[in-house]
C-alpha cells in the first residue's frame, strides 16, 4: 500500500483563462511555505508548477494539477485535455516552441517551459497522446 500523503490537494485549470493563470501555482507555493519546506526547494517547485500550469492554460482545453506531499517527497502531477505533443524529444529542446503570437503577447512561448521544469525537478516524466492530452509527474525529494 502506498504511504498516505501528509498533504494532498487538486486544482482545476481552465484553458485560455489568462486572468486566473498561475493562481494554482501561487497556492502551491503558499502551502509549501506553511508546511515549512526549505525556501530554495519551494522556489524550484513553484517555478516548475507555474511552467506546467501555464502550458495547460496556453495549449489545452482544461486540466488538473495535483500536489502531494509525503515525508519523502513533493509531487506535482499535471494532466490536461489538449492537443498532445507529437514529438516530446523536440518539445524538450530549449528554444523549440509552437506558440502563437497571442501566447507570446502574454509573455510566454519562449520554448523554455518543459526543459525548465526538468531542470528544477529531481525527477520528471512526461507522457502525451496526440489529440487527447499530456500528463506530467514532477518530483522533488525532501
Amino acid at each position: 500500500m502506498p504511504r498516505e500523503p501528509l498533504f494532498w490537494q487538486r486544482f482545476d485549470i481552465c484553458g485560455r483563462n489568462f486572468v486566473d493563470a498561475g493562481k494554482a501555482s501561487i497556492s502551491i507555493k503558499g502551502i509549501l511555505r506553511e508546511i515549512g519546506i526549505n525556501p530554495s526547494l519551494i522556489r524550484r517547485a513553484a517555478i516548475a508548477s507555474y511552467e506546467a500550469e501555464m502550458n495547460v492554460v496556453l495549449y489545452a482545453t482544461k486540466g488538473t494539477m495535483e500536489l502531494r506531499v509525503t515525508p519523502k517527497d513533493i509531487r506535482v502531477m499535471v494532466e490536461d485535455q489538449g492537443p498532445g505533443i507529437p514529438d516530446i524529444e523536440l518539445a524538450m529542446r530549449e528554444g523549440y516552441s509552437t506558440a502563437s503570437d497571442e501566447i507570446r503577447e502574454m509573455g510566454f512561448g519562449a520554448g523554455m517551459g518543459l526543459s525548465n521544469i526538468k531542470k528544477n525537478a529531481d525527477a520528471f516524466s512526461i507522457h502525451s497522446a496526440v489529440g487527447k492530452g499530456t500528463t506530467l509527474e514532477i518530483t522533488f525529494r525532501l
Binding site: 498561475g22 501561487i26 513553484a46 502574454m106 509573455g107 519562449a110 523554455m112 526543459s115 525548465n116
Partner: protein, 132 residues
C-alpha cells in the same frame, strides 16, 4: 543596489511600494518573455520588462523577484498593480528603453545572473571590459 538608487538612476515613477525603496536587489534581469525569466532569473532580483499584464507580477511572485521596472514608459494594468500590492512587490516605471535601462544599472554595479553562478567573474570581466 537599493531600490531608491534604481529609481534615481532610471528616473522612475513609483507605481507601488513607496515604503520599500530602502530594500536591496542583488541582481538584474531584463526580459519580455516570462518563460525566459523563469528559466534564468535569480532570487531577490530586479526584473526589467516591457510586459505589463498580470503575468509579469505572478512570475515575479513565483520566482521571488523583489521589484519590477516597466521600461519604455509602459504602465502595468490594474490587475498587475493590485497583485503587486497584495504580494509586496515593488513596481517602478521608466521612460527609458530596455537596453539603456539595463546598461545604466549595470554601469552602477548591478550585476547579471550569470556572474552570480561563476559565468563571468570579476577577474575575467575587468580585462574584457577594457578591450571594449
Amino acid at each position: 543596489m537599493k531600490l531608491e538608487a534604481v529609481k534615481r538612476i532610471l528616473n522612475c515613477q513609483v507605481i507601488t511600494g513607496h515604503d520599500k525603496l530602502d530594500e536591496e536587489v542583488g541582481v538584474g534581469c531584463g526580459a519580455d518573455l516570462m518563460s525566459d525569466v523563469l528559466a534564468f532569473i535569480k532570487p531577490n532580483a530586479l526584473l526589467l520588462t516591457g510586459l505589463t499584464n498580470v503575468q509579469s507580477v505572478r512570475t515575479a511572485e513565483i520566482a521571488e523577484v523583489r521589484a519590477i521596472v516597466y521600461v519604455r514608459g509602459k504602465l502595468p494594468d490594474k490587475e498587475a498593480v493590485d497583485l503587486a500590492k497584495e504580494k509586496g512587490i515593488v513596481l517602478l516605471c521608466t521612460s527609458l528603453p530596455m537596453y539603456e535601462s539595463c546598461g545604466r544599472l549595470y554601469q552602477h554595479g548591478l550585476r547579471g545572473g550569470s556572474e552570480l553562478e561563476g559565468g563571468l567573474r570579476d577577474a575575467k570581466r575587468a580585462p574584457l571590459l577594457a578591450t571594449l
